[in-house]
């Protein structure tokens, strides 16, 4: 698909020329037209820009927190110098990555909430159950909930997997490696 067909702005594909001598404009042109990139954002590019923005935010947070640590001098560098310097580089690169995103096509695979939700819930459940109810219930919870992430749900094979892993987990981690885990209950 031609990129110009996806524009949200006032321009569309029919304005696109085949290129040629007239296209050799200097870089300064882009800089003199500060609004140029605003028009270029397509629906497809928006999530990519948000991703770059998050990296930039991470850098900003790191620089803000890093600024509270002693910077020291060049000879005797404090704890704050390196984090601040690296954070600044990260922010710069996040901006560069955003600009790069605007210049390129984006393509992503399908996204489904189902795996993300059930895998997360399965791990959360495991962390809540392992110290309270013990190895067997937490393993069954992990396997059965994570099994919901993929359709169709296969209860029989999941229960068999959970049984096998409970036994293997007991043999390897409790008997073999002496991990302080209980099978059932505190």
């Amino acid at each position: 698909m031609s990129r110009s067909n996806k524009k949200l702005g006032p321009f569309n594909g029919k304005h696109r020329s085949t290129g040629g001598e007239g296209c050799q404009r200097p870089v300064g042109w882009a800089l003199r037209n500060p609004m140029w990139n605003m028009k270029a954002i397509t629906k497809e590019q928006l999530p990519d820009l948000v991703a770059c923005g998050l990296v930039g935010l991470f850098g900003l947070a790191a620089i803000w927190m890093g600024a509270s640590y002693p910077v020291g001098s060049v000879t005797r560098m404090g704890a704050g110098f390196f984090p601040v310097a690296i954070s600044a580089i990260v922010i710069g690169l996040a901006v560069a990555a955003a600009i790069e995103t605007l210049m390129s096509e984006t393509s992503r695979g399908t996204f489904k909430w189902r795996p993300l939700i059930f895998i997360s819930v399965a791990i959360l459940a495991w962390t809540q159950l392992i110290d309270t109810l013990g190895l067997i219930p937490s393993t069954f919870a992990l396997i059965l909930i994570s099994g919901l992430a993929k359709q169709p749900f296969r209860p029989v094979s999941l229960i068999l997997t959970a049984t096998f892993l409970s036994v293997a987990g007991y043999l390897v981690f409790v008997l073999g490696l002496h991990m302080p885990l209980t099978l059932l209950g505190r």
């Binding site: 321009f11 390196f82 690169l93 992503r108 993300l116 962390t127 992990l142 993929k150």
Partner: protein, 506 residues
């Protein structure tokens, strides 16, 4: 011959029952995860890292290394039979391996990739035996400034030479460096980025980070996209493995060239097996008298990349063991594992702990011989593995991830951290931010900062120390060359932007 005496010492150590057992276990597990698409060597090594805390350092290193190179042997199996790489470096083997399988020559392809792996691995082991002591004795005179520059080269190379955007790659190195700073600053004792919590006052757990970025996110990604094809295990008989004389004539020179390319690429900091396989494939295609047969089942097309793959994996141990600088994310985890075991890799290792150093190297060869046995007579067993359905596999992987991370500190906090990094890693994968440079940055971060600070203390704050020392200068110039080589991407992108915009405005 000093080296030979040492090597004899190494073999003596490696041939002990315990070490042989863990070597066999490591390479078997490596082959297992290598064969299965969707579990990488990195996730497996981080999963096994907590288990090795119960072992002495030597069997631990032997086992973890075995997983790494064992996985390279196994990874070609799925490439050939399913057109689905068992791991990233094996992607190139699909190009000619799968057409061979379609022509009914899967057995020959499996046989030749195993032999190629052995040739490549052996080549680099010999190189390592000859070269590592020299490099170590040279590296003993390296100063902090030199180390800083080598690490910069490793980080820049790792983020620019991989696929995709090098800007995003370097940005992820930066994020990794920042994550590596979490915890108590070694030189001043200041707690950084800990949010006042006890759990991360010693830093973020390497295992939680690696398992999240490479285990959980991989599972999420696999569940979102597609099903695996099913393979017919009965088609691989012992007889079908035997290549023709013509096959062997094409095989040897290609495997030789692949070994050399792999060794060179593997030794360089920041370059991993994936780059080695791509380089050797394109070299074969360029050298070939009839390049049109590539992609249709060319023997050279599978032999050279597979030799390069294993050669680079073994060669990657050279900078890690002698300089203490890992070349890629997997070696970074290995380095992390060694540090946890109280081994500090570097030029001193070979002097201070020769039995360990030479024992691990000797085990590589034994491991490669095990792999030859595991992969030729027993290939049918591994092929049958590909029939394990994913709906059984991924819950089991989650279980081992959870209990593996938990076992390090008996802390559910680390497991939650793993989940968080898993979700972040999935997002990164989705938006083409590479995870490997992040992990490399995370492991090298503290070393980088320490050497930077020390270099400036020694030079009384003079930044010129990084260019006035010849070794440091050489590595910085190499870094600059790699960066400049990436510039056409920017330039090309910029021209495209201006042209595109221009055309629209007309």
């Amino acid at each position: 011959m000093d080296t030979l005496t040492n090597l004899g010492l190494g073999f003596q150590a490696a041939l002990s029952f315990e070490n042989l057992l863990f070597c066999l276990f490591g390479v078997s597990l490596g082959t297992f995860v290598g064969v299965l698409p969707g579990i990488g060597a990195l996730a497996t090594i981080s999963m096994c890292l907590p288990l090795t805390f119960y072992l002495a350092p030597m069997p631990a290193m032997i086992m973890l290394a075995g997983i790494f190179y064992g996985a390279q042997y196994g990874s070609s199996t799925a490439s050939i039979l399913l057109n689905l790489p068992g791991s990233a470096p094996a992607a190139i083997t699909c190009l000619d391996g799968y057409p061979m399988a379609q022509q009914g020559r899967a057995g020959v392809a499996l046989f030749l990739t195993t032999i190629a792996s052995f040739v490549g691995g052996s080549f680099s082991i010999i190189l390592m035996i000859g070269f590592a002591p020299i490099l170590a004795s040279f590296a003993i005179s390296f100063s902090s400034a030199d180390y800083f520059s080598i690490m910069i080269l490793a980080l820049v190379a790792a983020s620019t030479l991989s696929n995709g955007s090098f800007i995003k790659g370097i940005a992820m190195v930066g994020v990794g460096l920042l994550l590596g700073m979490v915890g108590t600053d070694i030189s001043s004792g200041v707690a950084r980025y800990t949010f006042g919590t006890v759990e991360i006052s010693d830093g973020i757990s390497l295992i939680a980070l690696a398992m999240g970025l490479f285990g959980v996110s991989e599972i999420l990604s696999n569940l979102m996209h597609g099903e695996h094809a099913v393979v017919d295990a009965r088609a691989i008989t012992f007889k079908s493995l035997i290549p023709t004389r013509q096959d062997m004539r094409e095989f040897w020179p290609a495997a030789g060239r692949g070994s050399v390319i792999g060794a060179i690429v593997g030794m360089l900091p920041g370059t991993g097996p994936t780059i080695a396989t791509f380089m050797s494939y394109s070299a074969e295609k360029r050298l070939s008298k009839n390049p049109e047969k590539f992609g249709k089942g060319a023997i050279e097309g599978i032999s050279s990349p597979e030799a390069a793959n294993n050669s680079s994996v073994q060669a990657a141990f050279i900078p890690t063991l002698t300089l203490g600088i890992p070349g890629d994310a997997i070696m970074a985890v290995m380095l992390g594992g060694m540090l946890i075991h109280g081994i500090t890799p570097g030029p001193q290792l070979i002097v201070d702990n020769p039995v360990l150093f030479w024992g691990v190297i000797a085990s590589f060869w034994l491991g490669n011989i095990f792999l030859l046995i595991l992969n030729i007579p027993l290939i049918g067993v591994w092929v049958r593995l590909l029939t394990v359905p994913y709906h059984v596999l991924y819950p089991a992987m989650l279980f081992f991830i959870c209990i593996g991370v938990y076992s390090v500190n008996n802390s559910t906090f680390d497991v939650l951290l793993t989940l968080m990094f898993g979700v972040i890693g999935f997002g990164m994968m989705r938006f083409n931010f590479p995870a490997a440079p992040l992990l490399l940055g995370f492991v090298l971060g503290p070393l980088l900062e320490e050497n930077f600070r020390r270099a400036l203390v020694l030079s009384h704050g003079d930044l010129g120390v990084f260019v006035s020392r010849p070794v440091s200068l050489v590595f910085l110039v190499l870094t600059l060359i790699i960066l400049l080589a990436s510039v056409p991407q920017i330039r090309g992108g910029l021209t495209r932007l201006i042209r595109g915009r221009d055309a629209i405005n007309e």
